[in-house]
Symmetry: D2
Subunit: 223 residues, 4 copies
């Protein structure tokens, strides 16, 4: 469904990443992905997920799903329902939506059962190594203090990238993505030179004046 390096764009709940604007942004991601031949994945909210999935070819994953089976739950959605709506996978344990480890395990296993992709976030190299044991499809390491900031993980913590890849690979051969503060192709190139097999971006694309230009710049660093 994708080849590394991948670029995951987390739409978050930015005003420019929801509703009609989310649709527009997803179309841009779709176009750039096709033009450049690079795997771009959209991580979207539950409300927008179905409409976006119906409009684009790139993989669309949910920003979160609850670790529950069908039943007497109010205000929850689960992985089975995401599957019914043809979503491609899940972002799990993002720094802004951290989970109990038993729930992370539940969501990864459920994703496997339903043939969906799991991207699990970790706040440091130790946690990344631990989560590798659960065998998600991707591990994404993001130092929480850099998320949403102006200094990228590539610049501020190159050693954390190296340590995370070492930790993960010592447990399982799972591709490692990195994120936090990544805004341009230079940040991406650095991350990939250090061994990352992709990056997570959010504000750098979603809040960009010209998301298409921002994407093309980021992708420049992948090549």
């Amino acid at each position: 469904m994708w080849k590394t390096p991948v670029l995951i764009v987390n739409f978050k709940l930015y005003k420019s990443g929801v509703g009609e604007k989310a649709l527009e942004l997803a179309r841009i991601l779709d176009k750039v992905s096709k033009e450049r031949g690079v795997s771009i994945i959209a991580a979207v909210n539950t409300f927008d997920a179905y409409r976006i999935k119906n409009e684009v070819k790139i993989p669309v994953i949910l920003q979160h799903a609850d670790a529950v089976e069908f039943g007497a739950h109010t205000g929850r959605i689960n992985v089975e329902l995401a599957r019914e709506y043809n979503l491609d996978g899940l972002l799990i344990n993002h720094s802004e939506r951290m989970l109990k480890i038993s729930d992370i395990d539940f969501l990864i296993q459920k994703s496997k059962d339903l043939n969906m992709v799991s991207v699990v976030c970790a706040n440091n190299s130790r946690v990344a190594g631990a989560l590798a044991f659960l065998e998600p499809d991707f591990i994404a390491m993001e130092p929480p203090e850099l998320i949403g900031g102006n200094v990228s993980v590539s610049t501020a913590k190159p050693e954390a990238i190296v340590e995370t890849i070492e930790a993960v690979k010592s447990v399982r051969n799972i591709p490692v993505l990195v994120g936090a503060g990544i805004k341009n192709g230079k940040d991406v190139r650095k991350a990939i030179e250090l061994g990352a097999e992709g990056v997570l971006v959010a504000s750098g694309v979603v809040k960009a004046k010209d998301p298409e230009m921002a994407l093309n710049d980021l992708i420049g660093g992948m090549m």
Copy 2:
């Protein structure tokens, strides 16, 4: 948009209350509401909300929204986005999705600002009275120990219904709904005789072999 008594059907995350089946069920609610001239409200999950809203005339409310503004939130949806998708309102603080009081307050105020209906759940008469001060559109009292069971609140706790109505009315003139274990017209009639201005049902309709028959039976108790 509705007149009392109202019947709120909480689809929960029952297998028969999500995806294609949620659409079918919503159409049945719509049909029965029109035929019988009774206000029926569908409380649905975020995934199904938009599709259901586009197919039916009855009010559609979300089972939950997060108490956040637009911004750097992952895996959250908010009231503004529900408004953009034309949802009619929110179920707030359901026993299976309880909230901090500051978040309940946030969600009620936000619903008012956006002209959406707020149905706030309370687990007893004291909490119902307290929440009345926040001026939601409806207060729904459900004793947690009876939710999903076979004995209705009308039968098991008629005094709790009376006390809740007294508590709420001593603070604000807000319609009180009751729920928990309500399965038939007799349960509904009893609740309304005690002063309730509507009921919440879930499994009694959503898991019924014949939801239309179940609805008609329930509505019989409203007339």
Copy 3:
């Protein structure tokens, strides 16, 4: 056990508010309370509570208790146990430890049953009015954005103090305390002139170079 106006000192988990230093601080509170004839209450962590209670005459309350009965709970303490250790009451729903409304209700009722004092925090006047219906012994309103800051609620939001007192008194005749950023006697005097029957302080005393001087200054504003 106390007379208004009261001064509640929240020791938080400041390094200067735990362990041996908590004991010293509690002794200072005790001494100043006696000298000045003013009710001072220490709100302490569970670890230090018992030792402090055994050393001082002023009321000692817990910063938090869990809303559970005795039973199969790990890592929880409850109100009954606080009672067994002779604690005088509870701080409930502090901005740094917010609770579901059903748990707030549980803790207030349990405190009443066990003859303990309940001080319930609210983030604004609406929430304060709602919580008044649950009849705690005190309502303490603290605007979250001012907590720990250098501008006091008295200076930054005098109208919020007035509105809170109106809201609470419209529901029940419960004394209203205010807090957030209160550092000196002038802040206290202003709060009391506006109708508050006491204040909550934390860093202003606990992190003061000379807590005794800080207390005496604060108390000056009460007289």
Copy 4:
């Protein structure tokens, strides 16, 4: 401080495991530990921890600590404070008090820094393997559905014990404890034959009519 096999007794918040009764029980544990030459560890609530630690020789650990540094936290305690009170370690992520993985990591690292023992709970073999990467002193696997029940993990899920030990040992050489429903020496013997280096018990001792007899029976299975 201890030698395997170890017996950890989780006092929980059982009426017979708190306050004066907790002290009595701890004395019994101390006596039996000495008499039988077996390592017994008491896992107690924060309120009782200090008094118990002052009365017994056996290691005393907390049932939970919050993953915070000293600072503006209300209703929290941390590992540093537990250290100041001479506690020996922490139970982390018990099924009744599950944590985010970033907090589990924080608590284990902090325990190491302060020379305290960390016992981390896991709900299955996969999670146990993952947590092994964080290098706690012990991993304790308890299938949640068996906790507090009458059928022991040794009887109901012997294969889960074997799988957990394999999973953990494939990552790090950390001793594995098991728990859930363990009531007698036969359950203990079976667990140890399968490779466990100790057991966690709660109701089997804390709610026993004669805790000393219960302990001696359990220890019989260790020899």
